[in-house]
Structure formats: C-alpha cells, structure tokens
C-alpha cells in the first residue's frame, strides 16, 4: 500500500464521522436559521427568510441578554485572572516544595468533581438559609442570594482550574535569575510582578481566558440554578428549541460569533502560536 492509500484508510472513518455528522449538523443549523416556522402548528418549513435574524436584532430582550452574557463571561475571566496570578505566585515563589505539591493537586482536583455537583454545591452555599448567610449573617453581611453575582461566582468556581493551572505552570517556568536581576536593579516585588512576571505569563493568561470565556458564554445551567431570574444566551436558545427551532438556530450563532471574535482578537496578539 502506498502512503497516500494508508493515510486515506486512517482518515476515512474519522472524517466521515466528523464531517458527515458534526460539520453537517453545524451547517444545517446555519441553514435552519433561515427557515420558517408556521405560527399556528409550529412546524418548521424549509424556506428562506431573514425574519429570525430581524427578530433577534429588533427584540431588546435578545440584545440585552447577549450583552449580559458577554459581560458575565468577561467578568468570570477577569475574576479567574485575579485569583490565578496571586495563587500562581504564591505556589511558585512562596510555598515550600511540599506545600506546592499539595496545592498543585488541590487546584486540579475540583476540576473532576462534576459540573452539576459544583452547581449544586454553590446552590447549597448561597441559598437563603444556607452556609454563607448563616456564617456571615451575624456580621451583618448578607449573601448575593441567587443573582447575577452568584452566576459569576459559580462560573468562576467551575472554570478556575483552566486558568489557574496554565498560569501556575508559566510562573514556575520563569528563569529565577530574572527575579534576581530585577531585585538587584532595585525593583520591589510589586514592580517586578507588574513589569517582569505579568508580561511573560501573558500567553498563559490568554490561553486560560479562551476556556473561561467560551465556556462561560455557552453556559446556562448555572444561570438556571443559581441565577434567580438571570437569563443568558443559552437560556433563550434552550427555551426556543422546541417552540421555534429557527429562532434557536439563529440565536446560537451569537455565541459562535463572540467566540470567533475573541479568538481572532487574541490571535492578533500572537499568543495562540505560543500556546
């Protein structure tokens, strides 16, 4: 067998699957976004209309939900960075080797604990008679309850390891003599972190942010269970999937567009090549 035939034999089945099922479905989703729903029978008919897109743009609820989701995804990303950088510096530069090993396991372990389990855990923590209010109530602090704040906290809880692990790895790999040079030249710790550490770990932060951003963008289960009345893009898609599939299809292009825009703008920084 020549190499070309061998390659075809290897790729035939996977490509048939991925293109025939997955890419086909994505294309059909795009096509369905232009189809028509009969308002009386709610049967979907093939056709071509831009009405679904007009509805999405014209309906202020859809626009505000898109913006809210975008804001939540950005907030989760920023919060993850704010936790991961001090965590990484502490683990790499302050902790003893033993404590470092323990912390390395501790930050990856929750990744496995189950997505819904973690949402359930946050629900128990922040519910009205829950742990948070009961612990901090005597201090006069009342928790965020089920609100957009809790959604951001929960999504950060879910996706933090995707940011914390690459940031910690990047800080560990920084050559120690950089820190010596910086301090010999008279820089304090804060100045060293700002001017030496942060620029060098930027690729890791960007790599992590792709996960925290795109995973938050597509999520709606957190909003459903800890968000009170908070709606995200996914909530609208999910509530339309049976009643009005073309609207759901059209609206699912919004998160795709956000992710693509994010990836392109990140790519221009040159961080993707170094991932």
């Amino acid at each position: 067998m020549n190499r070309r035939a061998q390659l075809s034999a290897l790729l035939a089945l996977p490509m048939l699957w991925l293109i025939g099922i997955y890419i086909f479905s994505l294309v059909m989703l795009l096509v369905t976004a232009f189809w028509v729903t009969d308002p009386f029978t709610s049967k979907v008919k093939p056709g071509f209309t831009l009405r679904n897109f007009e509805q999405i743009i014209a309906n202020p609820a859809y626009a505000s939900t898109s913006l809210r989701t975008l804001g939540i995804a950005l907030a989760v990303t920023v919060l993850s960075i704010l936790i991961s950088v001090p965590l990484g510096i502490f683990m790499a530069k302050v902790a003893s080797p033993k404590l470092r090993a323990i912390l390395a396991v501790a930050i990856t372990l929750p990744l496995w604990a189950g997505y819904l389990v973690k949402i359930l855990a946050m629900r128990i923590t922040f519910t009205e008679e829950g742990f948070f209010n009961s612990m901090l109530g005597p201090l006069g602090i009342s928790g965020p309850g089920f609100s957009i704040v809790t959604v951001v906290l929960t999504l950060t809880y879910l996706w933090l390891p995707y940011m914390a692990v690459p940031v910690y790895t990047a800080i560990r790999q920084l050559p120690p003599n950089l820190f010596d040079a910086s301090s010999d030249l008279g820089a304090g710790a804060g100045f060293t972190i700002r001017t030496v550490v942060l620029p060098l770990i930027r690729p890791a932060i960007i790599a992590g942010s792709i996960f925290t951003f795109s995973l938050s963008l597509g999520d709606y289960i957190a909003a459903k269970f800890v968000g009170g009345s908070t709606q995200m893009i996914g909530s609208i898609i999910a509530s339309n999937i049976n009643l009005n599939p073309p609207i759901a299809a059209a609206f699912s292009l919004v998160p795709i567009a956000f992710v693509v825009i994010y990836l392109v703008s990140v790519q221009r920084t040159g961080a993707l090549e170094r991932m």
């Binding site: 790729l11 991925l18 979907v44 972190i193 289960i221 459903k224 996914g234």
Partner: protein
C-alpha cells in the same frame, strides 16, 4: 529570588486560603448535607441521619439513570478510542495538505459551547432525519457524546506517539514481522497506557456532560446528570440529590488516581 515583604507574603497566603475555601467548602457542604435528616439543605444541620443514603441505594430511577450514564459513556468511549487513535496516527505519521484543518475538526466539538453542539445535533435529529423517517433515539445521545470525546483519546495518543522511537518499529519489520504483528507486539504496547488514559478521560467527560445530553437524550431517558438536574429543578427531596452528588465526588477521585498512576508508570519506563 522574588523578594516579598512579610506583608506581601501574608496577603498572598490569605488570597490562596480564600481561593481554597471557595473551592472546597461548597463541596464539603454537599457531603455533609447528604447526612442531614431534613428534606432540604440548610445550615447548620439540625439532625444527622443516613436515611437518604438508604433511600438512594434502593431508588429505581437512580439505578436506571446510572445504567444509562454507563451505557452512553462506554459507547462514547469506544467511538472515541477508534476514531481518536486513527486520527492521531494520521496526524503523527503523515504530512499532508489540510493537517491543521483535521486537527481543528477534532477539537471543534469541545471548543464550541456545548449548547451549540447540542442544538446543532438536536436540529439534525429532529428537523432533518426525523422527516425522512430516521429515528436516532437512544443512539443520538451516544453519537453526540462520542463526537466530543474523540479529542480526549486523540490528545493522549498523539502525545505518546510523538515520543515513540520509530527505529523500534523498523527493527521489528527488518526481523520479518508482518505490519499487523508489528502493531500488536511493538507499537500498541508502547502507547497502551496513553490509550487507557484517553479512554478514562473520555468516559469521565461523557459521564459528566449535561448540556449536550439535554438536547440529544430521547424523551423519558435520564442520565445521572440529567437526573440530578431534574431533581434540582423540583427540590422537594434535595437531600437525596446530595447523596448522589457525594458519590459522584468520591467517584471523581478514581480517574485522577488512575491517570496519575499511569503517568507515573510511563515516566518510570522512560
């Protein structure tokens, strides 16, 4: 050396402590609430009891949901093992036009938000296949899970193949082994642990998946995450959910433990 003042070290340590508390207290609350006698989760816990554990063990819906999760997970893992290994070999052993595209195709189902994958497959099943008389039913869920699990096997096997010394296979061929013998006796043993690790990750990913499952599960069929979600939506026996969630937390240590052992085994051999 990064010279941090004592105050700075203290601040960093405090942030780490808060982050760890933020990660572990909620999980701890789930575990402790599974032993609460009350129907609803609350804090502090008024009375402890194992009643919900007893109920969970005899619950028929939980058993059915667990069985579904295992069936779907195993089906998805088999699909992912076959397709993921094939692509890994193609990308590692050959150079060809469109290599990057093939790589992207494998990663895409997990890179796009789950809701997009779920809605796209749901749309294909309901608006394209059903009108022409094809009912995917239960298999729709397995197909969906298999699709996004491919990348797990692919990543693990590809990383291992890159480290295999090609001269060992050449030696095997020179000594007269058929290609099949070479694969069975020389190539496969070298990437077996990556293959197993990929399988565990694929199974774990499928076992935990919610959003894609919501859109691809046939009516009336629950996987374990779907069962948990439906119970959370009508929280009259919340403590029962805590029992299942506790078991999931404990079970989640298994893949971590196994993959660490496999990684250690691979390091020792090198």
């Amino acid at each position: 050396m990064l010279r941090l003042s004592l105050g700075a070290k203290f601040t960093l340590g405090t942030i780490v402590a808060i982050a760890l508390a933020f990660m572990y207290i909620p999980l701890f609350l789930v575990v402790i609430n599974s032993f609460s006698a009350a129907r609803l989760s609350s804090w502090p816990i008024a009375e402890f009891s194992t009643i919900w554990w007893e109920k969970a063990f005899v619950s028929e819906p939980i058993r059915a949901a667990l069985l579904n999760s295992v069936i779907v997970g195993l089906g998805a893992t088999v699909i992912a093992l076959i397709l993921g290994t094939l692509v890994a070999f193609a990308l590692q052993r050959y150079t060809f036009f469109g290599k990057q595209t093939v790589n992207l195709l494998v990663v895409l189902p997990i890179a796009l938000p789950g809701i997009v994958t779920g809605v796209a497959l749901n749309n294909t099943y309901n608006q394209v296949l059903e009108p022409i008389g094809i009912e995917v039913g239960y298999f729709g869920m397995i197909i969906a899970h298999g699709t996004f699990c491919i990348v797990m096997v692919f990543n693990n096997v590809l990383a291992r193949l890159r480290r295999i010394n090609p001269s060992i296979e050449e030696a095997s061929r020179d000594l007269g082994a058929t290609p099949l013998q070479t694969f069975r006796l020389v190539t496969f043993p070298q990437f077996r642990s990556a293959f197993v690790a990929g399988a565990i990750l694929a199974f774990a990913l499928s076992f935990d998946e919610v959003v894609v499952t919501i859109f691809t599960a046939p009516p009336g069929v629950d996987t374990l995450p779907l069962w948990i979600m439906n119970q959370m939506a009508r929280p009259n026996e919340a403590s029962l959910v805590n029992v299942v969630a506790t078991v999931v937390i404990l079970a989640s240590f298994i893949p971590v433990w196994v993959s660490q052992r496999l990684a250690r085994g691979a390091d020792e051999r090198e």
